[in-house]
Each structure stands twice: as C-alpha cells, then as structure tokens.
Symmetry: C2
Subunit: 145 residues, 2 copies
Amino acid sequence: MIKILCVGKIKENYLKEMINDYVKRISKYMLVSIVELKDNPIHEKEIASLSAAIKRSDYNIALDLKGEKLNSEEFAKVIEKTLIINSNITFIIGPSEGLNKEILDKCSKVISFSDLTFPHGLFRGILLEQIYRAFKIINNETYHK
Amino acid sequence: MIKILCVGKIKENYLKEMINDYVKRISKYMLVSIVELKDNPIHEKEIASLSAAIKRSDYNIALDLKGEKLNSEEFAKVIEKTLIINSNITFIIGPSEGLNKEILDKCSKVISFSDLTFPHGLFRGILLEQIYRAFKIINNETYHK
C-alpha cells in the first residue's frame, strides 16, 4: 500500500479533483491512502504530530527540499525496488519550512522534487502524478506526455 | 506582459480551472496571455510551429529539463530583473522530448523546474503558480504556503 502522510486541508476544488483523479488512477496498480493531519499554526506541534504518525514498520520516504534529486525513471525504480522489500511505502510531505531531524531520521530516503517551493495542495497532486507515472513506467505502459 | 507559449489542449477540467485561477491571480500584477499551439504527432513539425511563434523582440525563457535550476526566490529575481529591460516575457514550454537548438538559441534563458517529467497541462499550472508566487515575492506580500 502507498500512503501519503501530509498536513492541512485542500481548499481548492480543482486540486481535490486532481488528487482524486490520480488516487483513482493509481488504485489500478496499488491501494493509495491519504492520511491528512490537522495543520497547526505552531510549526513544532505540526512537526510533532507528523512525526508521531510515522510507522517504523513502513518504508518511509520524506519529500524535502534538501533531498536527493531523481528523474521520473529513477523515482519509478525506487518504488519498484522498495516494493520487493516492503509492501507499505509512506511518503511524508512536510511543511514548506522543511522537516526536522527527528522525522528525517525515521525515513529511509529523502527525495527532492524541485528547488522550487509549491503550495502543499499542489505538491500533493504532483506527488500522486509521479507515483502514477512510476507505475506506468514499472509496468512498461505508455503514458501520453 | 507575460506570455506562455505552449503546445496542446488541456483535457482535464480541473487543470483548466487551476490554470484560469492562476491567470486571474497573476492579472492583478500583470497581463498574462496563453498562446496554445495545436499539437502535432510529428515532433519536428510541432517544434517548427513553436519556433515560428517565438518573437525575437520578447525576452524568451525556455523551460527545459537541461536548463538552470532555480529556487522560487531566484525565479522571482529573474522576472523582476527582466521586467526592467523588457516588459514582454515569454515562457516557452516544450514537449517532454525537449526543445531543439534552434529554439534554445532564440531564448535568453533556459530554466529547469525539476528533473521529473510532468504532463504538459500540469506543467502549465505549475509554471503559472510559480509566476504568481514570483509576483508575491517581488511585491513583498505574504503567500500562505
């Protein structure tokens, strides 16, 4: 199972639709679950609730500006290889201020999608699209642009 | 004026809404125009029509996987500095196969947002969000996440 651990509600309807669309598309390959924690104006509390929600038994991948940069094929390879050793992959989307050492220490991998900062809702959609793309790549299926 | 030169229609309604939302938001700072060329299954023809649409008098910025990587503050700085010398900035979004030398030679700058490949419609939304974010940064306005 693929789990997305993230913080804060999505306000824009078009982002909700985009996220639902990709969740539906990915579900042909694997179950996806979005665990949305309540956001907290106090950064430390937000980070603490995120940290508490991380399961040590999952293969945890943090998305953070300081992470390793991959292209879509390399990202697909990470998912493909990980699923051999652990069928539960959790992606952790931190706040734009970044994740702390405690969370990063719980993660087996830290990936950066871009040097740019994105709104958290849009980032959730971008991540889901890349996961969907990864399954298309893993299964050798064409994906129009 | 900010111009986005791109290829292919957007199919998903949620992407159309996202694009319209950011066009509207950016228009508080500057006019945005999206010039959408017809896509062509023959890559060379698509590239040729894109190349023909580029105006030499604009400040042309190509978005390409091989470009320079910037963070959001640096991207904002590029827009801010460019607007001093040329009030017409055109962003050129190429096909996922990349742009050719002829087009890149017409551009003053080549920027890469990510090593990942995105669907062209989503990428258009991502670019518009970053342009909006840039105007927020340039004008010293807060932008919630």
